[in-house]
Symmetry: C2
Amino acid sequence: MTQVSIIGTGNMANAIGGVFADGGSSVSYIPKANTGAAPLEGEIVVLAVPYPAVDSIIAAYGDQLDGKIIVDITNPLNFETFDSLPVPAGSSAAAEIQSRLPGARVLKAFNTTFAGTLVSKKIGDAATTVLIAGDDAAAKELLANAVKAGGVSAIDAGSLSRAHELEALGFLQLTLAAAEKFSWTGGFAVTL
Amino acid sequence: MTQVSIIGTGNMANAIGGVFADGGSSVSYIPKANTGAAPLEGEIVVLAVPYPAVDSIIAAYGDQLDGKIIVDITNPLNFETFDSLPVPAGSSAAAEIQSRLPGARVLKAFNTTFAGTLVSKKIGDAATTVLIAGDDAAAKELLANAVKAGGVSAIDAGSLSRAHELEALGFLQLTLAAAEKFSWTGGFAVTL
């Protein structure tokens, strides 16, 4: 059985935890206020918090994150301008996190799936699909299997450098939903 | 009636021209070899060529492109590495073209729709959707109306700076189709 710790208790945390639980994984939620104090159970740690909160989590857990599979779901949008990402051009939040946690295996995932589509497991008539980027093939497979067990599709989207494209896709999808070009239960559906 | 010149005669040129023609637009195709010699008819000029061919088209037509709506469909992929885009980080092919053609109205469009999905007008069960980025609202509306008349959806994806995200999406979609994660008639379907 896969054991997952989810840091955060918002919509995305609950939607992601629901998928894992439906697949038979054991899920522990850690409220942001308990960061550092609550133990990190299991191999997978999901950072289901806004990007600016990631630094304090890394500081609080330190080397307890070594060896863990860290799942970064953030869309590091500049919510003041809604026009850019506050990470270096060409890079990604996930790559920044990996550089701060060289002993962890960082994956980018869940940043292109709105919470509603993880709960319903559908986007339009298609299955919701989680795109996973990362440099550790075994980590990607473990995450993909836990997601698929929960009734949601998962695709290996390539190396961690593809997190740049996943974050661009997530950003574009957010701006188009905010502009009411499609709904928060719609967006980009992976079609086979 | 909208009049469109399409430079290029490949799969994408034909698929795009088919949509315009179905919508009642008049379409002229200009083979790359005739670039500069063939007249540019109409208000819309589609650059349906690989990104490295764009420079010679700009050189050949020069100020005949002033005032035109230039539609950049390229995915400026580095086909040697299949791992990066040969434009400055954070920028886009479309922005590069606009900077070389300050008198033209450059739009990014059609780079996220595979040719097959423009021909069938469907991606899975969903309507094929052309995402259009650009700084000229009237130009975007003219293009969107010509596309929609041809039975394909179109969405205003924002300013020309969003071409960065459209090119990231196009790049990601190409790498996933090449890796057989989905087919060349699949990909990312816009779901309302």
